[in-house]
């Protein structure tokens, strides 16, 4: 069914389709609508889930950890400060190999307090062992949530999946979303969760017990491997989704007008939409420019990036996060990928934009493309700063 949905509704409706047994969350802007919609669905009897209210994000993550360890499908959502407060538990969820799905309505971090969009929150949990997907628009947010559970629950993966949805830009914006009518079809796509290891009185296991030096490293190695194996699973999940529901937004990456491009803009999230519009215009003025969208940030799609960038001369990385003392985060990972694959001669310019909700307009993007033509291997350059008096 085609509907006009707010991003938050698209997310909660996607979550409704997978029928999680347990949902627990703590409110934080701009995630609140997601949880309020879900709470209403449960209250109205449209979703048979346990909706557990808690007193903090730390508790929300702990509740879903506990429930997930019992072998049921679980979901939570947060943003910004809430996410970094959850981080301790996310490490545990990943370490215990529990398939929790978590939405992050991406928002800046304090201080100063700022409720608007960027991706610094997501970057702060980069190394927790959670798979990190990033949605470009409301349709993808809807579809990605259904895929997320399939990826998380794959026996070869068994890791939490974080679905990043830009705060306000997507969560509070209405777009046309084609929702799935048949919950039966979703059940077919995503069979009931069947966990090999779970808390079960008839077949007891322990979770999270002391990992001495003799075993800790192996447990991390297994997690590391599962993350690598998940690449194949993410691709499969996207492909199967396309076959069953007709929608495809890329697998680990997506490309736009890359066939003859000598310049490529790399980014993730909702800004991709603006970049595509700008690229259309730039192409009219004769520039051979394309877009590479990172759909899966963790696992990082090295092979796919390498093959997509084989014939490219210039790369512009645009990111809404920064690593103070170094530069960009995505840009560094792109450079590393190129270097390892003997493609270090490609010129990579990394720019920081849109922190704390600063607008990124098509004009910013034209200007950046012009600027990048003059620059060579710059990194961590802030774009759109106000002139400070």
């Amino acid at each position: 069914m085609r509907q006009v949905l707010e991003g938050s509704m698209a997310v909660s409706d996607g979550v409704r389709m997978v029928e999680p047994h347990v949902i627990s969350a703590y409110p934080i802007t701009p995630q609140t609508h997601i949880v309020e919609h879900l709470s209403k669905m449960v209250a109205d009897g449209n979703l048979k889930s346990e909706f557990i209210m808690v007193e903090s994000e730390h508790s929300a993550a702990s509740v879903v950890l506990g429930a997930s360890a019992c072998g049921v499908r679980t979901y939570t959502a947060t943003a910004s400060q809430g996410l970094i407060y959850m981080e301790e538990v996310i490490y545990n969820i990943a370490g215990m190999r529990l398939p929790v799905v978590l939405t992050v309505a991406n928002r800046a971090l304090s201080a100063p307090i700022n409720i608007w969009n960027d991706m610094q929150d997501a970057m702060a949990i980069r190394d927790t062992g959670a798979i990190m997907l990033v949605a470009e628009n409301n349709q993808e947010a809807y579809d990605m949530h259904i895929q997320a559970f399939k990826i998380a629950e794959n026996p070869d993966v068994m890791l939490p999946v974080v679905v990043n949805v830009d705060g306000f830009v997507l969560t509070h914006t209405f777009e046309i979303v084609e929702t799935i009518d048949s919950i039966e079809k979703v059940r077919e796509y995503l069979p009931p969760l069947d966990m090999k290891y779970k808390l079960d009185v008839d077949n007891p296991y322990s979770f999270g017990t002391l990992g001495e030096p003799s075993v800790y490293m192996e447990s991390r190695y297994n997690l590391y491997n599962a993350m690598n194996l998940s690449k194949k699973v993410i691709v499969e999940a996207a492909r199967e989704f396309k076959n069953m529901f007709g929608k495809f937004h890329g697998a680990l990456i997506d490309t736009y007008k890359m066939d003859d491009a000598n310049t490529v803009i790399i980014a993730m999230g909702s800004v991709i939409g603006t970049i595509k519009d700008a690229v259309d215009e730039l192409r009219e003025s004769g520039k051979k420019i394309g877009v590479l969208k990172i759909r899966s940030f963790r696992p990082f799609p090295e092979d796919e990036i390498v093959s997509a960038l084989r014939n490219v001369e210039n790369i512009i990385v645009m990111e809404k996060a920064v690593s103070p003392g170094k530069g960009g985060i995505l840009s560094v990972e792109i450079r590393d990928t190129l270097y390892k694959n003997k493609m270090a001669s490609i010129n990579v310019n990394g720019y920081i934009l849109g922190l704390g909700g600063r607008d990124i307009t098509p004009k910013n993007i034209y200007d950046l493309v012009v600027r990048a033509e003059r620059e060579e291997n710059v990194d961590g350059k802030f774009i759109g700063l106000r002139r400070l008096e």
Binding site: Y26, P27, I28, T29, T32, V35, E36, S39, K40, A43, F51, M53, E55, S56, E57, Q81, S110, A111, I113
Partner: protein, 275 residues
């Protein structure tokens, strides 16, 4: 009587105004009472620290011209503790909403009380998470509605004053944003107390709480405060039935016997130095 000519400007950072509070919100009344109380105590502005967490209530420090720190959700007391321990001569005030103080920050609340550290905490209890649009809070009365308790809350609420006393606070009181004169007096008393003082102020959030609980306007909410507040004395002669749905106001506890933590700490440091 409140002097009508009180010069609030002296204590306000006018460049941060207008404030973000909704017209009719009770928080502004508490802000004004706090300024009058500080003025009465004659603390030099630079000796006052106001720390807060996150929420509508917690925006207060941004508007007042003292040393202020607006921190992370639930943690006002921890930052305040650090400040008090390092500079014990400062007057440290912590501002929290009910969620900030008793949900996400509940742990810090009981530990500050247990230590009896010389901080004055003012809890703006509007029974809800005002800032995030009215989700359930740990002080939300049984049976009332919020965006996450569509059929009425079935969770037992905290009584902040009982909790503070049980945990070890040495000054505990409750007033409302309707009883502005009493409120000012109580703040003075709490500020003058040495030890952990907790003042719970029942305040009105018609936007996030009232609308969902048949009190759409600030007037209805203020009436609620006026009608439901029972001074401790009057409550003594009332049955449980008569007290149902009401709350007591007054100073429940003022205990000056229990040692205060930051001074005990200094004492200990001194003894160790002389050893």
């Amino acid at each position: 009587m409140i002097k009508t000519k009180f010069d609030y400007d002296k204590y306000l950072r006018k460049n941060t105004l207008p404030h973000i509070w909704c017209p009719g919100c009770g928080d502004g009344i508490i802000l004004k009472a706090l300024l009058r109380a500080i003025d009465k105590c004659e603390y030099p502005k630079d000796d006052v620290v106001v720390a807060s967490g996150i929420g509508c209530a917690s925006r207060l420090p941004g508007y007042v011209d003292f040393n202020t720190i607006h921190t992370t959700h639930g943690r006002a007391l921890t930052f305040a503790t650090g400040i008090k321990m390092f500079k014990p001569r400062l007057k440290v005030i912590a501002i929290s909403g009910d969620g900030d103080a008793l949900a996400i920050g509940g742990n810090h609340f009981i530990h500050a009380a247990r230590r009896n550290i010389d901080i004055t905490m003012i809890i703006f209890n509007n029974y809800t998470y005002g800032m995030t649009g009215g989700q359930y809070s740990p002080t939300q009365p049984l049976g009332t509605y919020s965006t996450t308790t569509s059929f009425g809350s079935i969770e037992q609420p905290f009584d902040a004053c009982n909790l503070a006393q049980a945990a070890g606070a040495t000054w505990v009181g409750r007033s409302t944003s309707y009883h502005a004169v009493q409120l000012e007096k109580f703040i003075v008393s709490a500020l003058k107390h040495t030890g952990f003082s907790v003042l719970e102020v029942i305040t009105n959030c018609h936007i996030s709480f009232g609308r969902r609980n048949k009190m759409k306007s600030p007037v209805e909410m203020v009436k609620y405060q006026k009608e439901k507040a029972i001074p401790i004395r009057s409550a003594e002669n009332m049955s449980d039935e008569e007290l149902a749905g009401r709350f007591k106001t007054g100073i429940f506890l003022e205990n000056t016997d229990k040692p205060e933590f930051s001074s005990e700490y200094r004492k200990m440091a001194e003894t160790l130095k002389t050893k």
